[in-house]
Symmetry: C2
Subunit: 346 residues, 2 copies
């Protein structure tokens, strides 16, 4: 009853250009060709633990209409529009202060809009355990993903115990490691991928923000009197951009002593790059992955071709390339060079 | 005054897919990115030798509106619509019979719509010489292009004398040669590329068709009474499809004893393939050729990228590829494999 889910949907997904663009970022796109956008999949994933009326979305102003179209079941007043992006701490603060006004007993999950989880049942069970824990304790719970490879593209959570499916104290957070370090993490068993999913009750997160991000907390206190009134938008435009631009990780997670992790193998991916999307779509016998209704490959290997439905695409003689096409944009790039896509498309 | 130009514009240019499609074939497209379609360039090329009112276009029914849009100066009644393609002999017969009814003294050039000539002044002079020749003689003149490389993709004209800029008798026509033969032709000096351009007076071509293609001539004689009347379209639909499907080369050129050639170095190309188009657009320092307003290449060599104006295209790490994009079609193919494009796109 008091469970709320806050979906952070303000990113632009520049590493998935040209599929993801500032006009329609990846969370609003059917990246996997399954008939649902990533944010729709995210809502679906949390449906077992949260009533439809208790979802909240924080996004950029220009994406509000997209959210309404794709998630008509979410109350319009719970689609929160940031006047500008100030990183995750102000985003989470804004949602937390608003939720507290509506439901002072709220128990909250905060999640990105654009990740993928294949083990949805295990995921729901993990979230339910975390929520049960925070419902009765002044605790922050992070979700740790049991690593399946020495991934250098994610941050890690160092747990005090190498346990799965149970709440254990966090020792520390670690930035993206180099390969040797990542191999060590994988062997060690105490390290888990940080999925950027947080569970806490509203009193806990507001208390932590007051303690560790007092500037942001002060802004929210000033803003709170306008919540759910006709003055809210004007006040938000005046005050929100004054918030310190800082991530929740730096502002709170690295400082708070009350952080736990619940780790599990959830077949999770941040879908942050073409390579990570590719691994979630079935490949043909030449290890090519295609999305699109008329993609014709001749002599291609290890390619990922992602096109709009109505396109006829002929690709001959490519090995290890991304071919991605969306509206009036086209990308052809070696998968090994995909870290440069952001520069190429700038 | 009696000079007429007949432009054959019924082809679909399948080797230039996806730029050229059955809906809008290459003759109606600005293939070179110069602001004019190939058929517009063709009309421009003949302007020095022919009045605007004496141009004729023979094309497929579905291309008539495209011709009217692109060539508004051509009288609508001189845009001839074939109910179906029956190869070049019926096409030329239909135009010849109609022109004769309007101008029994007509002196005619027949040309493809989709070739390129860079030496336009020399071209006009060559055509003028040929027209002067056929105005007074019962002769067929072909235009021979002095070869600049041992091209295996064109047919050749074997002339009795190795002269340029003069009318000489043709010895015989040769099909596309293998490379050794083409090298021999280039060294010999008596062999010229067959540009598919023919010059004759209307009495000559009709006489030759009566002699060597009597079935087609009989159809045209039956059709002629309906020319320039409201019955013409119905009669054309009834009779034209009964014409033997045969090229003018097989029907007449290989049989007639009155064939001449005027050979010249005209910087001509049939623009029949991506490779041939590529050679006519200036390359960058890495030998890449691009058409499009926002094509960004990173680490590419020897590539040809051809896109619509409004596209943003990023290409990384390709060597020797065609990237061509048009409406809802995309091709990525090694230049060395372009002979297979027709199969790939079928």
């Amino acid at each position: 009853m008091n469970t709320h889910v806050v979906i952070m949907a303000g990113g632009i997904g520049s590493r998935l250009w040209p599929l993801s663009t500032p006009e329609v970022p990846k969370q609003f796109i059917d990246v996997l060709g399954v008939g649902k956008s990533l944010i729709q999949l995210t809502v679906e994933r949390f449906a077992p633990v949260c009533e439809p009326g208790n979802f909240w979305v924080v996004t950029g102003e220009k994406y509000v209409e997209l959210v309404k179209e794709q998630l008509p079941q979410i109350p319009a007043e719970q689609i929160l529009a940031e006047p500008e992006g100030r990183n995750t701490a102000p985003c989470i603060a804004y949602a937390s202060w608003k939720i507290q006004k509506k439901d002072p007993e709220a128990n909250i999950v905060v999640t990105p809009a654009d990740a993928l989880v294949l083990k949805t049942q295990e995921f729901a069970e993990t979230i339910a355990k975390a929520l049960a824990f925070t419902a009765e304790r002044d605790a922050i719970v992070t979700v740790g993903i049991a690593p399946t490879r020495p991934e250098t593209g994610y941050g890690y959570i160092h747990a005090t115990e190498a346990l799965h499916g149970q709440l254990v104290k966090v020792s520390e957070f670690r930035e993206k490691p180099d390969l040797d370090t990542a191999i060590g993490y994988l062997e060690d068993g105490h390290y888990f991928w940080n999925a950027g999913i947080f569970v806490w009750n509203v009193g806990t997160i507001i208390g932590e923000l007051r303690a560790y991000a007092p500037q942001i907390a002060g802004v929210m206190d000033e803003l709170a009197s306008a919540f759910f009134t006709e003055k809210e938008s004007a006040e938000l435009h005046r005050l929100f951009p004054t918030c310190e631009k800082i991530s929740i990780d730096y502002a709170v997670m690295e400082k708070s002593p009350r952080i736990y992790v619940i780790a599990e193998d959830l077949a999770w991916s941040d879908l942050g790059s073409w390579g990570s999307v590719q691994t979630h779509i079935e490949a043909d016998e030449d290890n090519n992955v295609t999305v699109g209704s008329d993609v014709r490959l001749f002599g291609c290997r290890d390619c990922f071709v992602h096109t709009a439905e109505e396109k006829t695409v002929v690709v001959e003689g490519l090995d290890g390339y991304i071919v991605a096409e969306s509206k009036d944009r086209l990308l052809i790039c070696r998968l090994s060079q995909e870290q440069h896509i952001k520069e190429y498309s700038a």
